[in-house]
């Protein structure tokens, strides 16, 4: 029964948030991440407990990958919305795959930093900068994905997903905009650890995953109920 598989994919949205958050908490990325103005001692100290940090980051990395089934499910719905020429569905699949990768690679890099905590502190500092800037700034695929989803939902005449979900996607795309500022600031609200960069992006992406997961779940359940009642009517 494919409804069960579809539901599993829908749940993988909220699951991404939960598993990644648990991993981040174990690694110590949450609740207070390293910032661009963290001292060398702080940065080296963060990676010094290498087993715990690596374990947490591995969990977070696996959690982030749970986004892929959700992206596939969104793709299935976009294909149905668009009919003969599902171009936005393809845009969503391509950019969605890229978002997963650009989230995963920096986490792997951070895990690799924890592999040799006794290396020269300067190298650790540089690698830490690279992983955080890679983690925060590549907003292009995210924004294109959100705009593709939002446009497909709003152009859909049949209302497979509620229209407000389309607008939420546009909003989330806007919330990613300040992330590029991470390149320009070393402290304050627009630095990579700042409220308008890390925290806004974290909340926006979590909201996207939860909203998409639950509204798709609702749509799947409604439809399977409809199928069941049609079967009875026949």
């Amino acid at each position: 029964m494919s409804t069960r598989v579809l539901l599993l994919c829908a749940w993988s949205g909220p699951a991404t948030v939960i598993v990644a958050t648990i991993g981040f908490l174990i690694a110590g990325v949450l609740p207070f991440p390293l910032g661009p103005n963290s001292s060398v001692t702080e940065v080296v100290g963060f990676y010094s407990d290498s087993t715990r940090v690596a374990a947490g980051l591995v969990i977070a990395g696996l959690g982030v990958c749970l986004v892929f089934p959700l992206i596939a499910l969104i793709g299935v719905y976009l294909v149905r919305m668009e009919g003969r020429t599902p171009i936005l569905a393809f845009v969503q699949l391509i950019t969605g795959a890229a978002t997963g990768v650009v989230l995963l690679v920096p986490l792997l890099l951070m895990t690799a930093i924890s592999f040799r905590p006794d290396r020269s502190p300067e190298l650790t500092m540089t690698l830490n900068d690279i992983s955080w800037l890679l983690f925060i700034t590549p907003i292009g695929p995210f924004m294109i994905q959100n705009i593709a989803i939002g446009t497909a939902i709003l152009r859909d005449q049949r209302g497979l997903l509620p229209r407000w979900v389309g607008y939420v996607n546009y909003w989330v795309a806007f919330l990613f905009v300040p992330d590029v500022l991470a390149f320009f600031f070393h402290s304050g609200p627009f630095a990579w650890r700042g409220i308008f960069v890390f925290w806004l992006a974290f909340v926006a992406y979590a909201a996207f995953l939860v909203v998409m997961g639950f509204t798709l779940r609702r749509a799947i359940l409604d439809e399977s109920k409809l199928d069941a009642s049609e079967a009875v009517a026949v």
Binding site: R80, E82, R158, G159, R163, V177, F184, F196, L200
Partner: protein, 217 residues
């Protein structure tokens, strides 16, 4: 031999499968005289959500200003207040023109609607030009260091994100003119674009007040 795949309901529509059942429409029925939301209810999730992002900008700006109000005042006085004032007037005028275009379109005055929209577009573009002039002025006098001066950090981030909103608004107005050219009645998209434009205007009024007036005081 002809390949008959039209009956294969399991294939996606774009691979030749049967179209999904068009009976499954979940469009809300609206009784006559019922109170209606401008645009549509879902649009307001975006409008209020987006305004809350700016709201967070405002709160953090004021919070940071508490630490060094004198320094903020010195920085803020470098801004060209006349340009800010003219830009406020320009956006308020554009909002009026958008309303008048909407009303004209509703009553079938397509020519008047087009003229109003052209005026609103000109206002939007004029706003952008004045903004760039001000950016050049602020950067040119060498006083403003966006990365170190907190006031200018907020100035460039807030006005920059707002300018992005203005540009998107301009694109929406152009698309609206496309609707007009086809002689269509007011659509959900048209109303939504008008609401969006008013949001952009409203946000600017607050940004102008905070950056040009409150911080300079």
């Amino acid at each position: 031999m002809t390949l008959d795949i039209s009956a294969d309901a399991d294939l996606p529509e774009f691979l030749g499968g049967a179209p999904a059942d068009s009976q499954r429409v979940r469009r809300p029925e609206r009784a006559a005289g019922e109170r209606r939301t401008p645009g549509e209810p879902g649009l307001w999730v975006f409008i209020l959500g987006d305004m809350s992002m700016f709201g967070a900008f405002f709160v953090v700006l004021l919070w940071q200003r508490r630490a060094a109000p004198a320094q903020f005042a010195v920085s803020a006085q470098e801004l060209l207040r006349p340009i800010g004032l003219v830009n406020t007037a320009v956006l308020l005028l554009s909002s009026y023109l958008v309303v008048s275009a909407l009303w004209a379109q509703r009553s079938g005055g397509m020519r008047r609607a087009t003229l109003s929209l052209v005026g609103a577009l000109a206002c939007g573009l004029g706003f952008g030009v004045l903004k760039v002039v001000e950016y050049l002025h602020v950067l040119g006098n060498g006083r403003a260091a966006p990365a170190t001066d907190t006031f200018y950090t907020f100035y460039f981030v807030m006005t920059g994100v707002h300018l992005l909103h203005v540009l998107i608004g301009v694109v929406l107005l152009v698309a609206w003119m496309g609707v007009l050219r086809k002689g269509r009645a007011v659509t959900r998209f048209v109303e939504g674009s008008a609401v969006y434009w008013h949001m952009v205007d409203l946000l600017w009024v607050v940004i102008f007040t905070l950056l040009y007036l409150v911080c300079a005081a």
